[in-house]
């Protein structure tokens, strides 16, 4: 073997990788196949029995998806998930980007201390925040007789869950964006200032376009985090049929009709479809976002 050439994969390596990949795909494949089988088949025979003659059209159906989306309420839940996830992604990123710019390129008292607090908050477990925030939402807060947080009755509202997700997402977003925005060359910002641009203009016209890779990575991470979240939605949005999101709907279905596998698998796949689409279409940003975002508290 000559120098500079990587060690090539032998048969053993290739087969090992193939086997591990098949094991990893196997659980998801079961869900996908079962979701297209008629109710009677799905609940009486194993899904692998279809693999012997996959081209037999009679054994496939879309009825499960129809029933899950219509009578199962999942089309409504999909809408709600979008209504929760889009603002709960845009809000923290916008706020974090402005803050990251100020932390990087503006001078003000307390800058260092404030940012250390942001770093410290990154790993605070969500569980620490649930009880006090629910109490704030349901009754407001008073300090020495002065109302510091009005009783807005935010529990069960979209605004309530956006604010919660924004608060929980901000430390990581601010930290990552500051790392990125702070490493942009200072000459660009200086010359824009000499041209007379104010901070707001520099931010919107210069910093945001230059930060697209970091913003995209974090957008994907935060969107998927909110989309896949069960805990925050369960506590702050609740399980009424009107405003339940997909994860809540799936959890409820798993509890109430846990043996109706044709419905459960279709519902599970409905909740996974959008994340999987994002995964396949934006894989590069996706991987970068998730690996950067694994720090979240």
């Amino acid at each position: 073997m000559s120098v500079g050439e990587r060690k090539k994969a032998g048969w053993f390596v290739r087969i090992t990788i193939l086997v591990v990949c098949l094991i990893w795909l196997f659980p998801a494949l079961g869900v996908l196949v079962t979701s297209f089988r008629p109710a009677d088949d799905a609940n009486t025979t194993g899904w692998w029995s279809t693999l012997t003659n996959p081209w037999d059209v009679a054994q496939w159906t879309l009825a499960n998806y129809r029933s899950v989306l219509d009578s199962g309420g999942f089309s409504n839940a999909l809408l709600n998930s979008l209504a929760v996830a889009i603002p709960a992604t845009v809000m923290p990123i916008t706020m974090a980007a402005f803050a990251a710019y100020a932390f990087s390129w503006m001078e003000f008292r307390g800058r260092q201390v404030m940012f250390v607090v942001v770093v410290a908050l990154m790993v605070v477990p969500l569980q620490m925040a649930l009880i006090p925030i629910l109490r704030l939402y349901n009754g407001g807060a008073e300090l020495f007789g002065v109302t510091v947080f009005p009783d807005l009755d935010l529990n069960g509202t979209f605004l309530g869950i956006w604010l919660a997700h924004t608060g929980f997402g901000l430390p990581l977003a601010t930290y990552l964006l500051r790392n990125y925005i702070g490493s942009l060359p200072s000459s660009i910002i200086e010359s824009a200032k000499i041209d007379g641009a104010d901070h707001f203009t520099i931010f919107t016209r210069l910093i945001v376009p230059l930060s697209v890779p970091a913003l995209a990575a974090f957008t994907i991470f935060q969107f998927l985090w909110v989309w896949n979240d069960l805990l925050v939605a369960y506590v702050f949005l609740g399980g009424t049929r009107d405003n339940q999101v997909v994860t809540i709907a799936l959890q409820a279905l798993s509890g109430s009709r846990g043996q109706d596998w044709h419905l459960l698998t279709a519902a599970a796949f409905v909740t996974m479809a959008l994340p999987l689409f994002v995964f396949f279409s934006l894989q590069r940003y996706f991987v970068r976002g998730l690996t950067a975002g694994a720090v979240k508290g």
Partner: protein
Amino acid sequence: MSDGPVQQITPTDPAPAGAERALRLLGAVAVLIGLPLLVRWAFDFTQDRDANRFAIVGVAIALGVLGVFALFWVMDQIVDRLPHGWRETVRPYVFVGPALVLLSVFLIYPVVNTVLLSFKDRRGNDWVGLDNYEFVFTDPSMLRSLRNTAMWIVVVPALALLIGLLFATLADRLQRGESVAKSVIFLPMAISFVGAAVTFRLIYSYRPEGFGSNIGVMNAVWQGLGNDPVAWLTKKPWNNFLLMVIMVWMQTGFAMVVLSSAIKSIPEEIIEAARIDGASEWQVFRHITVPSILPTITVVTTYMVINAMKVFDIVFVMGSPENNGTEVVAERMLTWFFIRNNGGYGAAVAVVLFVAVVPVMIANVRRFRAEEAIR
């Protein structure tokens, strides 16, 4: 505010004429009064149960997305109207303000409040001393959850790390298909814990003899070997490991991707030199690859330990943790606080989780300080 590109902005904006100035003022007043009214209306509309669902969702998204942009724009406009000397002193606080307010309300205040509530009764009215903590460390179900979580934070990171490291090392040698193979392992990261839990419930599903055939793979194989079907999810203590498998399935991709990029950054010359000196592949892996990526392994392990410590969804969706002996700490927190309405117990459990991450928090701050010092 100018709308032109940066290059066209002149240092001195000409002062607006009288009429234009009046018009601007009027516009500012209209925005200041109109915007809150519009936001108020939009908020009420999203609460309207009779309205069309599509319209509600559309208004909600517009409210959330445009609202946050409008917030910054309006605040910046107000700063522009302050006396000259003030503007650049106030502006940084306008930029960091919203983030700091939300961090204070949604993280800093709750941490303090939860610690206080953990010393109060179930409704948060009277002080009860250490009673809640006594419960946390004596209740059989709580003790089981502590034991189980201890297992989660050892088993899940260890398995995910081991499989991820081996896979990354082997996939690194593929001439073709490396990225496809890595995508497959990474794929479960995209889906929710709830979705993953339902996926594995199908694998573990069980029907007793006489109630139809078993459609879960585990029981199908088990019966194929000539055994009676088993309700896997109620088989203590093995059911805990069956739940951990779900998280390993989801997290291995993360470990693998991060470790893979660390492996690729090891200089090729070092590895070649070792091979020329006659080192076997295992020796290269053991004495060069692993030591080189040790810092990355530490970081990945830390994050996976924190994630495993907070696992909640998987156990919650699988159902009846108390009967099955599968309680975990984060799940106990929600059960006590939200389902059984005991804020005191819930807060005490949350504080236990918090105390466990404090070392990581201190390490993060220290590392950040060190990085800033050399910046």
